[in-house]
């Protein structure tokens, strides 16, 4: 069993290369888990960064990496037999409800933490996944639930934004007198999550989103990841509408590694090592 203290070196048991940018590494170890929780992944000599669990069973778990910077490329480059350090799980995870009236909105690699959630929600959920092109659609065959795809270039599904489909579905349900959503879950770029939050808020639908901030300890001590008065690694990474409303830093401000508070656009452009 892996715990949230010093890293345990685990061997990559299996690797799935989904696309040029998405790779999943599997580890045959037991770890406690609620969907939305993450682990700190250590590449000795390189760095240590947070990754959500995208797969979980009692004997195996997986993390899905979008290769974009130095660390994530190294991680995605690992082969079965290589080992990495893992500590965790950290964070709160999503609040899972049994209602058939839920929606899940994923943007790009935001699919990773949402996948194990989708598998535990009622199968009638409304499920949208947006990506740049059809090549960026993660886990094409994974889910029993029906998934609506949006792409920026229209190469698959609807051309446009995930919020287009979510807004349409909300409207359709209202128009047809169908029960409204009890909960919307979202993960993806913060600007997208903010759009989902705003849309839901207008319609009085509670939503939960999973935030990302630069992290060091992962357990609520160092303060690297604070977002307004919330500690993303410990109070989050999942926050609900009520909390988000009291977090002016949401979609606005984040701390760089130095602790410098910058506009989110600057934070997102920053390459961190």
């Amino acid at each position: 069993m892996i715990v949230d203290q010093k890293p345990v070196m685990l061997t990559v048991a299996e690797k799935t290369v989904h696309t040029a940018v998405y790779t999943t590494l599997f580890f045959d170890f037991a770890i406690d888990f609620r969907p939305g929780q993450f682990v700190m992944v250590w590449l000795p000599g390189i760095d240590e960064k947070p990754y959500s669990l995208s797969y979980h069973s009692p004997t195996r778990f997986g993390i899905t990496i979008e290769a974009k910077g130095l660390f994530s490329r190294r991680a995605a480059d690992l082969s079965p037999g290589d080992s990495v350090g893992i500590r965790g799980p950290f964070g709160n995870g999503f609040d899972i409800i049994s209602s058939p009236h839920t929606a899940v909105v994923a943007g790009g690699c935001g699919m990773a933490p949402l996948a194990p959630l989708v598998e535990r929600l009622h199968p009638d959920l409304f499920f949208v996944h947006g990506a740049r092109t059809h090549e960026f659609i993660l886990f094409p065959d994974r889910f029993a639930a029906n998934r609506h795809i949006t792409t920026d270039d229209g190469s698959l599904g609807h051309q446009g934004m995930v919020t287009d489909l979510l807004a349409a579905e909300i409207r359709r349900r209202a128009d047809q007198g169908a029960p409204p959503f009890d909960r919307v879950y979202a993960c993806g770029p913060e600007v997208m999550m903010h759009a989902v939050f705003t849309l839901c808020d207008v319609h009085g639908i509670p939503c939960q989103v999973s935030l990302e901030r630069y992290m060091r300890c992962g357990f609520g001590v160092c303060g690297a990841c604070v977002c307004s008065d919330q500690v993303v690694c410990k109070d989050g990474p999942v926050f609900d509408s009520k909390q988000l409303k009291k977090m002016p830093d949401f979609n606005r401000t984040a701390l760089l590694k130095s602790g410098h508070a910058v506009p989110l656009s600057e934070y997102v452009a920053w390459r961190c090592l």
Binding site: Q5, D47, G223, V226, S258
Partner: protein
């Protein structure tokens, strides 16, 4: 609520948030204050923007933590938003600062003093680049110089935060007192230590070595506070491994006026301040003591084999 006067300021209770724990923005400081902390401390502010070390930087060892965060800082002059947010606060704030030379300390101190913190704490457990990177806090001359220079340029009370690496921490404390410090804060992290991952065959921290904190350093912290209490007459903020009300009592008995906590947030959450405050007041009430009764109590002479004092103390 206690309403303590500390260096002329009102604190709602004697508990202090240690520097480098959460204190990265105004909102979180306010929340820690609401969670029962009498005095919150900002993460140490340095002379220039600095990223700190690569991860891993902070690792929990179970009985305590090891960290080598590497003094990240936005730089003293890149924190306007935070100072603004703190401007109309309704809670006291301790601003921790550091520099690599006396001149840098002075520059940062002067600027920070103007932003209106209630106290300035100098983190002299940082390397002195004028002196081969030796810590200011292990050298009497360097400790005097920096304390003295900072004292001259600030308009708020000055707290000197010491490192247990000092060969004689009582002497360093005395030197700081002589140089104008209004209070001592002790201790910064102990060690340094190292944890090697034997499967990876390499130290776990990217910086290799790191400072130890949490329960495993409490005996060292208590000894330091005890030594300092004998050496100075200014108040002491005692910290290092405090996690429970009984730990706080121990720190008071060693000689602390206020008690700080950092790593305890890992073990009991932010609410640790409320909890420890309650445990402390419950303990005092059960023993019919006030805090003043116990500050420095471990220094009281006790009946020894040659003493004619009462042979044994009644548990009150």
């Amino acid at each position: 609520m206690d309403n303590i006067t500390f260096l002329g300021k009102q604190l709602k209770n004697p508990l202090v948030l240690a520097s480098g724990i959460l204190g990265n923005n105004a909102k979180i400081l306010e929340r820690v204050h609401k969670a029962g902390c009498g005095l919150v401390t900002l993460k140490s502010i340095g002379p220039a923007p600095r990223d700190g070390h690569r991860n891993p930087t902070v690792i929990d060892l179970g009985g305590g933590m090891i960290n080598a965060v590497g003094l990240p800082t936005p730089g003293y002059d890149h924190m306007d938003a935070e100072w603004q947010a703190l401007a109309d606060r309704d809670f006291p704030v301790n601003a921790s600062i550091y520099g690599g030379s006396v001149a840098e300390f002075v520059k940062v101190a002067q600027f920070v003093s103007d932003q209106g913190p209630d106290f300035i704490e100098i983190n002299i457990s940082c390397p002195n680049s004028d002196h081969h990177g030796m810590l200011f806090g292990v050298d009497e001359k360097a400790a005097f110089a920096v304390t003295n220079a900072v004292k001259k340029v600030i308009s708020v009370p000055l707290i000197a935060k010491l490192t247990p690496a000092a060969p004689d921490i009582g002497k360093i404390a005395k030197v700081c007192e002589d140089a104008g410090a209004d209070a001592i804060c002790a201790i910064n992290t102990a060690g340094p230590g190292m944890v090697i991952d034997i499967e990876a065959r390499t130290p776990v921290l990217a910086f290799k070595k790191g400072g130890l904190s949490g329960p495993m350093i409490k005996p060292v912290a208590v000894r330091c506070v005890y030594d300092i209490y004998r050496a100075v007459s200014i108040p002491i903020i005692g910290l290092g491994g405090v996690t429970t009300g009984e730990d706080a009592v121990e720190m008071f008995m060693a000689g602390a006026t206020l008690v700080g906590m950092g790593s305890a947030v890992r073990y009991r959450g932010m609410e640790v301040f409320h909890q420890v405050y309650r445990e402390l007041t419950d303990w005092l009430a059960a023993h019919h003591f006030t805090r003043d009764d116990i500050i420095g109590a471990a220094h009281d002479p006790i009946a020894g084999p040659d003493s004619t004092a009462k042979k044994s103390r009644k548990t009150p």
